[in-house]
Symmetry: C2
Subunit: 382 residues, 2 copies
C-alpha cells in the first residue's frame, strides 16, 4: 500500500460553505491515501486519531502507516465502541487527550470510525483551544452517507440524544468504501436506511433505482459507490443551502423524531441501531402522513415494503423487548430538539420524494397515532 | 425598583459583528432593568439564570423580580463560587440543568456573575442543542470591562486554563455598575488590572488619566463609569476587527501568558486572582520588553509603579507561597494556547500604549528572563 496521491477510482465532491468549504473523497482504499491527502492540504500538521477499539484493531495501523509515510506525526486515542462513548465522561477524556497530544491551531483531529466517533471527535475538536480542525474518515455506511458530512457534532445528554454539541465542519472527508467490507451486515443495513432517506426526501428516481438495485448496493462495487455518491451529493447540497438548520436542512430529520424517541425508549442499548430506528421512524412518518391525509396509504405501504425487503424494521412489534408506553415516547418527542414553543415539528410527506417540514403538528395527533401503532404491535407480537 | 426601560444614566455601546452584533449597556441598577431590556429584544423567551452562590445571595431575587415583572419565566441554576467551577464536572451539571429547564432555540441563558460564571454559562449555552443564545450580566469589574465582551467562553483543562471552550457571542451585555459596590476590594483591584491593560496596549492618554484619577475610579461615580466605558469600547473595537483572534485580538493577552503560568503555578488557589496574575504578568511583559531592548527600563518602571500604587502585585516575591521553579512556569507557557509551532508568541511593548504581537520569541530568552526574576525574588523575599 504505497498510494501517495488520490486513487484514480475516487470520486470527489465539494461541500460549498464559503470559507468552510471542503472536499469529500469517496473510493476504495482511501485510508492508505490519507497521509498524502492530508499532507497536500496541511503540510506539517500534527495529528491525533480518535478511533473505537473495533475500528482501531482493523484500520489504525494502516492509517498510521499512511501518516508516517507522509511525515505526519500522529497520536492515537482509543475509546470503547458504541453509543455509550457519546458521553460527557468520554468527551472529557478525549478532549484532555487531544490537549495532551499538543493539538493546536493548524493541527488536525482525525475521526476514524462510524458516526459515534465522528460526532464525539468532531465535538471534541470544536472545543479544544476553542476549535481546532478535523478530518472525517468514516468507516460505516451510515457515517459515509450522513454523519460525516454537514458539521453536526455532539454527544448525548441524560435527557436525550445529541442534545449537546456544536456545528463544526470537517476540513476533509475521506470515505473509504472498501472499509465497508468488514462492517457487520446489520450495521450496513442500518446505514442503508439513511441512503433510502435521500430518495424519500426529494429524489423519487433514486428511490425507484434503489427498489430495483438494492442487492447490488449491498453487494459492493460500482452500484454501492454510486449510491454513496448520490447520498453525499444530496446531503452536501442541503447543507450548503442551510448550514445551521434554520429551514430546509430539517428535511434530513425525516424519520428521526420518531426514531430518536424509539432509541431513547430502548435505552440506546443496541436493541435498535440508529439506522434501524430511522427506518422504523420513516415508515411511521409515512404512515402518519397517510393518517393525516397527506399521502395515499399505498405510498406508506410502498416505503414500508422496500425497507422491510432489505431487512429493516418498520413496525413496533419488531423491536425486541418493546418500546414501552406511549407516554414515554411522547416525553422523548417533546424533549427532542425539534420542538418549538409547544407545537411539534415533524418531517411529513406528500409522496415518495415529497417530504416537507411541518411546524405545527398537534401533540394530540401524534399521540393518537402512536397509540394506534402500539395497539397494533400488541395485537401482533413479533 | 420598578424600572421598565433603560435607566437614563446607562451608556450604550455596540459590538459590531454583522449578524452577531450586540449592545453593551453600562450603568447603575441595570439588574432591575434586565427584564425590560430582555423582553424588548426577545419577548416570550424562557430564561435560565446561572449564578454562583455569592452572587445569587446578593442579586438573584432582584433579577428574578425584574424577569417576573416582564413576564419572563426563569429557572435559577446555582454553582459554587470560584475558579473551580470552570471544570468539566460543573459544566456537565449546568448543561444538563439547562436542558432540564427546556432551554431551546429562541430562549436565553443569563450569566449573572463574574468571569467564571460568564465563561462557564456562555460555554454551556454554546453547546446546548448545538447553541442557544445568552446574555451577560457581569457583576465584577473584571467581567464588566473584559470577559463579558467578545465571546470567548470556556472552562479549564487539567493542562491549563481556558483550554476548552467556544467562541460564542452574547446577544446582550448588561453591566450594572452599582453591583460593584458589594465586590470585595481585592476583587475590584484585580479587575482594575484589565482596565489599566487597555491603556498599556494602545491608549497612552487613558493610562495617563488613570495614573492621575485612579482613586476616583476606585471610589465609584462618573470616573468609574467612564473607565468602564472606555475599557469596553476598546475591547469592542478590537473584537469587532478580529473576532477569532487571528491577529490583533491577541493584543488583549498582554500580561496573560506570564499571568496564566503564574495562576497555574499557584494552582488556581486564590493565592493569586486572575487580575492579580495579569498585573504581575503585565509588569513582567514590560520588564521583558526592556530586557530585549524594545523599551526603556523607565517605561517598565512606570508601569510597575502605577500597578503597585493601586495595590496590585508586580514582583514574584509578592506571591504568597511562591510560584515554584522556572521549569514549571516554562511548561505552562509552552502548553498555553498562544504557542505556535515551537516559537513562543508574547505580547511585548515598545512603550506605554505601544503593545504588539511578537510571534517569534525564543523560549531561551523567556527562560533567562524568568530565571533572573526568580533569583531577584529569592534575594528579596516579601
Ligand atoms: N452528525 C450527524 O449528522 C449524524 C447523522 C446521523 C447519525 N449520527 C450519529 O451517528 C451514530 C451512529 O453511527 P454509526 O451507525 O456509524 O455507529 P458507530 O460509530 O457506533 O459504528 C457502528 C459499529 O460498527 C463498528 N465499525 C465501524 N466501522 C467498521 C468497519 N469498517 N468494520 C467493522 N466494524 C466497524 C463500530 O465499532 C461500531 O461498533 C449515532 O450516534 C448517531 O446519533 C450523526
Ligand atoms: N472570556 C474572557 O474573555 C475572559 C477574559 C478575562 C478573564 N476571564 C476569566 O474570568 C475569570 C475571572 O473573573 P472574575 O474575576 O470576575 O472572577 P469570579 O467570577 O470568580 O468573581 C470573583 C468573586 O467575586 C464574587 N462576586 C462576583 N460579583 C460580585 C458582587 N457584585 N459582589 C460581591 N461579590 C461578587 C464571586 O462570587 C467570586 O467569588 C477567570 O476564570 C478568567 O479566566 C475570561
Amino acid at each position: 500500500m504505497t498510494e501517495t496521491s488520490t486513487p484514480t477510482a475516487a470520486r470527489r465532491l465539494r461541500v460549498d460553505l464559503a470559507a468552510r468549504s471542503y472536499d469529500i473523497l469517496i473510493g476504495p482504499n482511501l485510508i492508505d491515501a490519507a497521509g498524502a491527502e492530508i499532507a497536500a492540504r496541511r503540510p506539517g500538521a500534527r495529528l491525533a486519531i480518535v478511533a473505537d477499539e473495533t475500528v482501531a484493531n482493523l484500520y489504525l495501523a494502516r492509517i498510521e502507516a499512511a501518516f508516517a509515510q507522509a511525515n505526519l506525526p500522529a497520536t492515537a486515542i482509543r475509546v470503547a465502541p458504541g453509543e455509550g462513548s457519546k458521553s460527557f465522561a468520554v468527551f472529557e477524556r478525549v478532549v484532555e487527550a487531544l490537549i495532551d497530544a499538543r493539538i493546536e491551531r493548524g493541527d488536525l483531529v482525525v475521526a476514524l470510525g462510524g458516526g459515534v466517533i465522528g460526532d464525539l471527535a468532531g465535538f471534541a475538536a470544536s472545543v479544544v483551544r476553542r476549535g481546532v480542525d478535523f478530518v472525517q474518515v468514516p468507516t460505516t455506511l451510515l457515517s459515509q452517507v450522513d454523519s460525516s458530512v454537514g458539521g453536526k457534532t455532539g454527544i448525548n445528554s441524560a435527557h436525550g440524544k445529541n442534545l449537546v454539541g456544536a456545528f463544526h465542519q470537517p476540513v476533509l472527508v475521506l470515505a473509504d468504501t472498501a472499509a465497508l467490507d468488514t462492517l457487520p451486515p446489520r450495521e450496513f443495513r442500518a446505514g442503508y436506511a439513511e441512503v433510502a432517506k435521500y430518495g424519500l426526501i426529494d429524489d423519487a428516481a433514486f428511490f425507484a433505482e434503489l427498489e430495483s438495485n438494492w442487492r447490488e448496493v449491498f453487494a459492493g462495487g460500482p452500484a454501492r459507490l454510486d449510491a454513496i455518491e448520490t447520498s453525499c451529493r444530496a446531503k452536501a447540497a442541503i447543507v450548503g443551502r442551510d448550514e445551521r438548520e434554520s429551514g430546509e436542512r430539517a428535511l434530513l430529520n425525516l424519520g428521526h423524531t420518531f426514531g430518536h424517541a424509539l432509541e431513547k425508549a430502548t435505552g440506546f442499548s443496541g436493541r435498535l441501531l440508529h439506522g434501524e430506528a430511522v427506518a422504523l421512524g420513516m415508515a411511521q412518518a409515512f404512515r402518519f402522513s397517510a393518517r393525516l391525509g397527506l399521502c395515499a396509504p399505498s405510498v406508506a405501504q410502498r416505503v414500508e415494503d422496500h425497507l422491510a425487503e432489505v431487512g429493516l424494521p418498520t413496525r413496533l412489534n419488531q423491536v425486541a423487548g418493546g418500546v414501552g408506553p406511549v407516554d414515554g415516547l411522547m416525553d422523548a418527542i417533546a424533549q427532542d430538539k425539534k420542538v418549538a414553543r409547544g407545537a411539534l415539528t415533524f418531517i411529513l410527506a406528500r409522496g415518495v420524494g415529497g417530504a416537507f417540514v411541518a411546524r405545527d403538528v398537534a401533540p394530540d395527533a401524534v399521540k393518537a397515532f402512536l397509540e394506534a401503532e402500539t395497539l397494533e404491535a400488541e395485537a401482533a407480537p413479533a
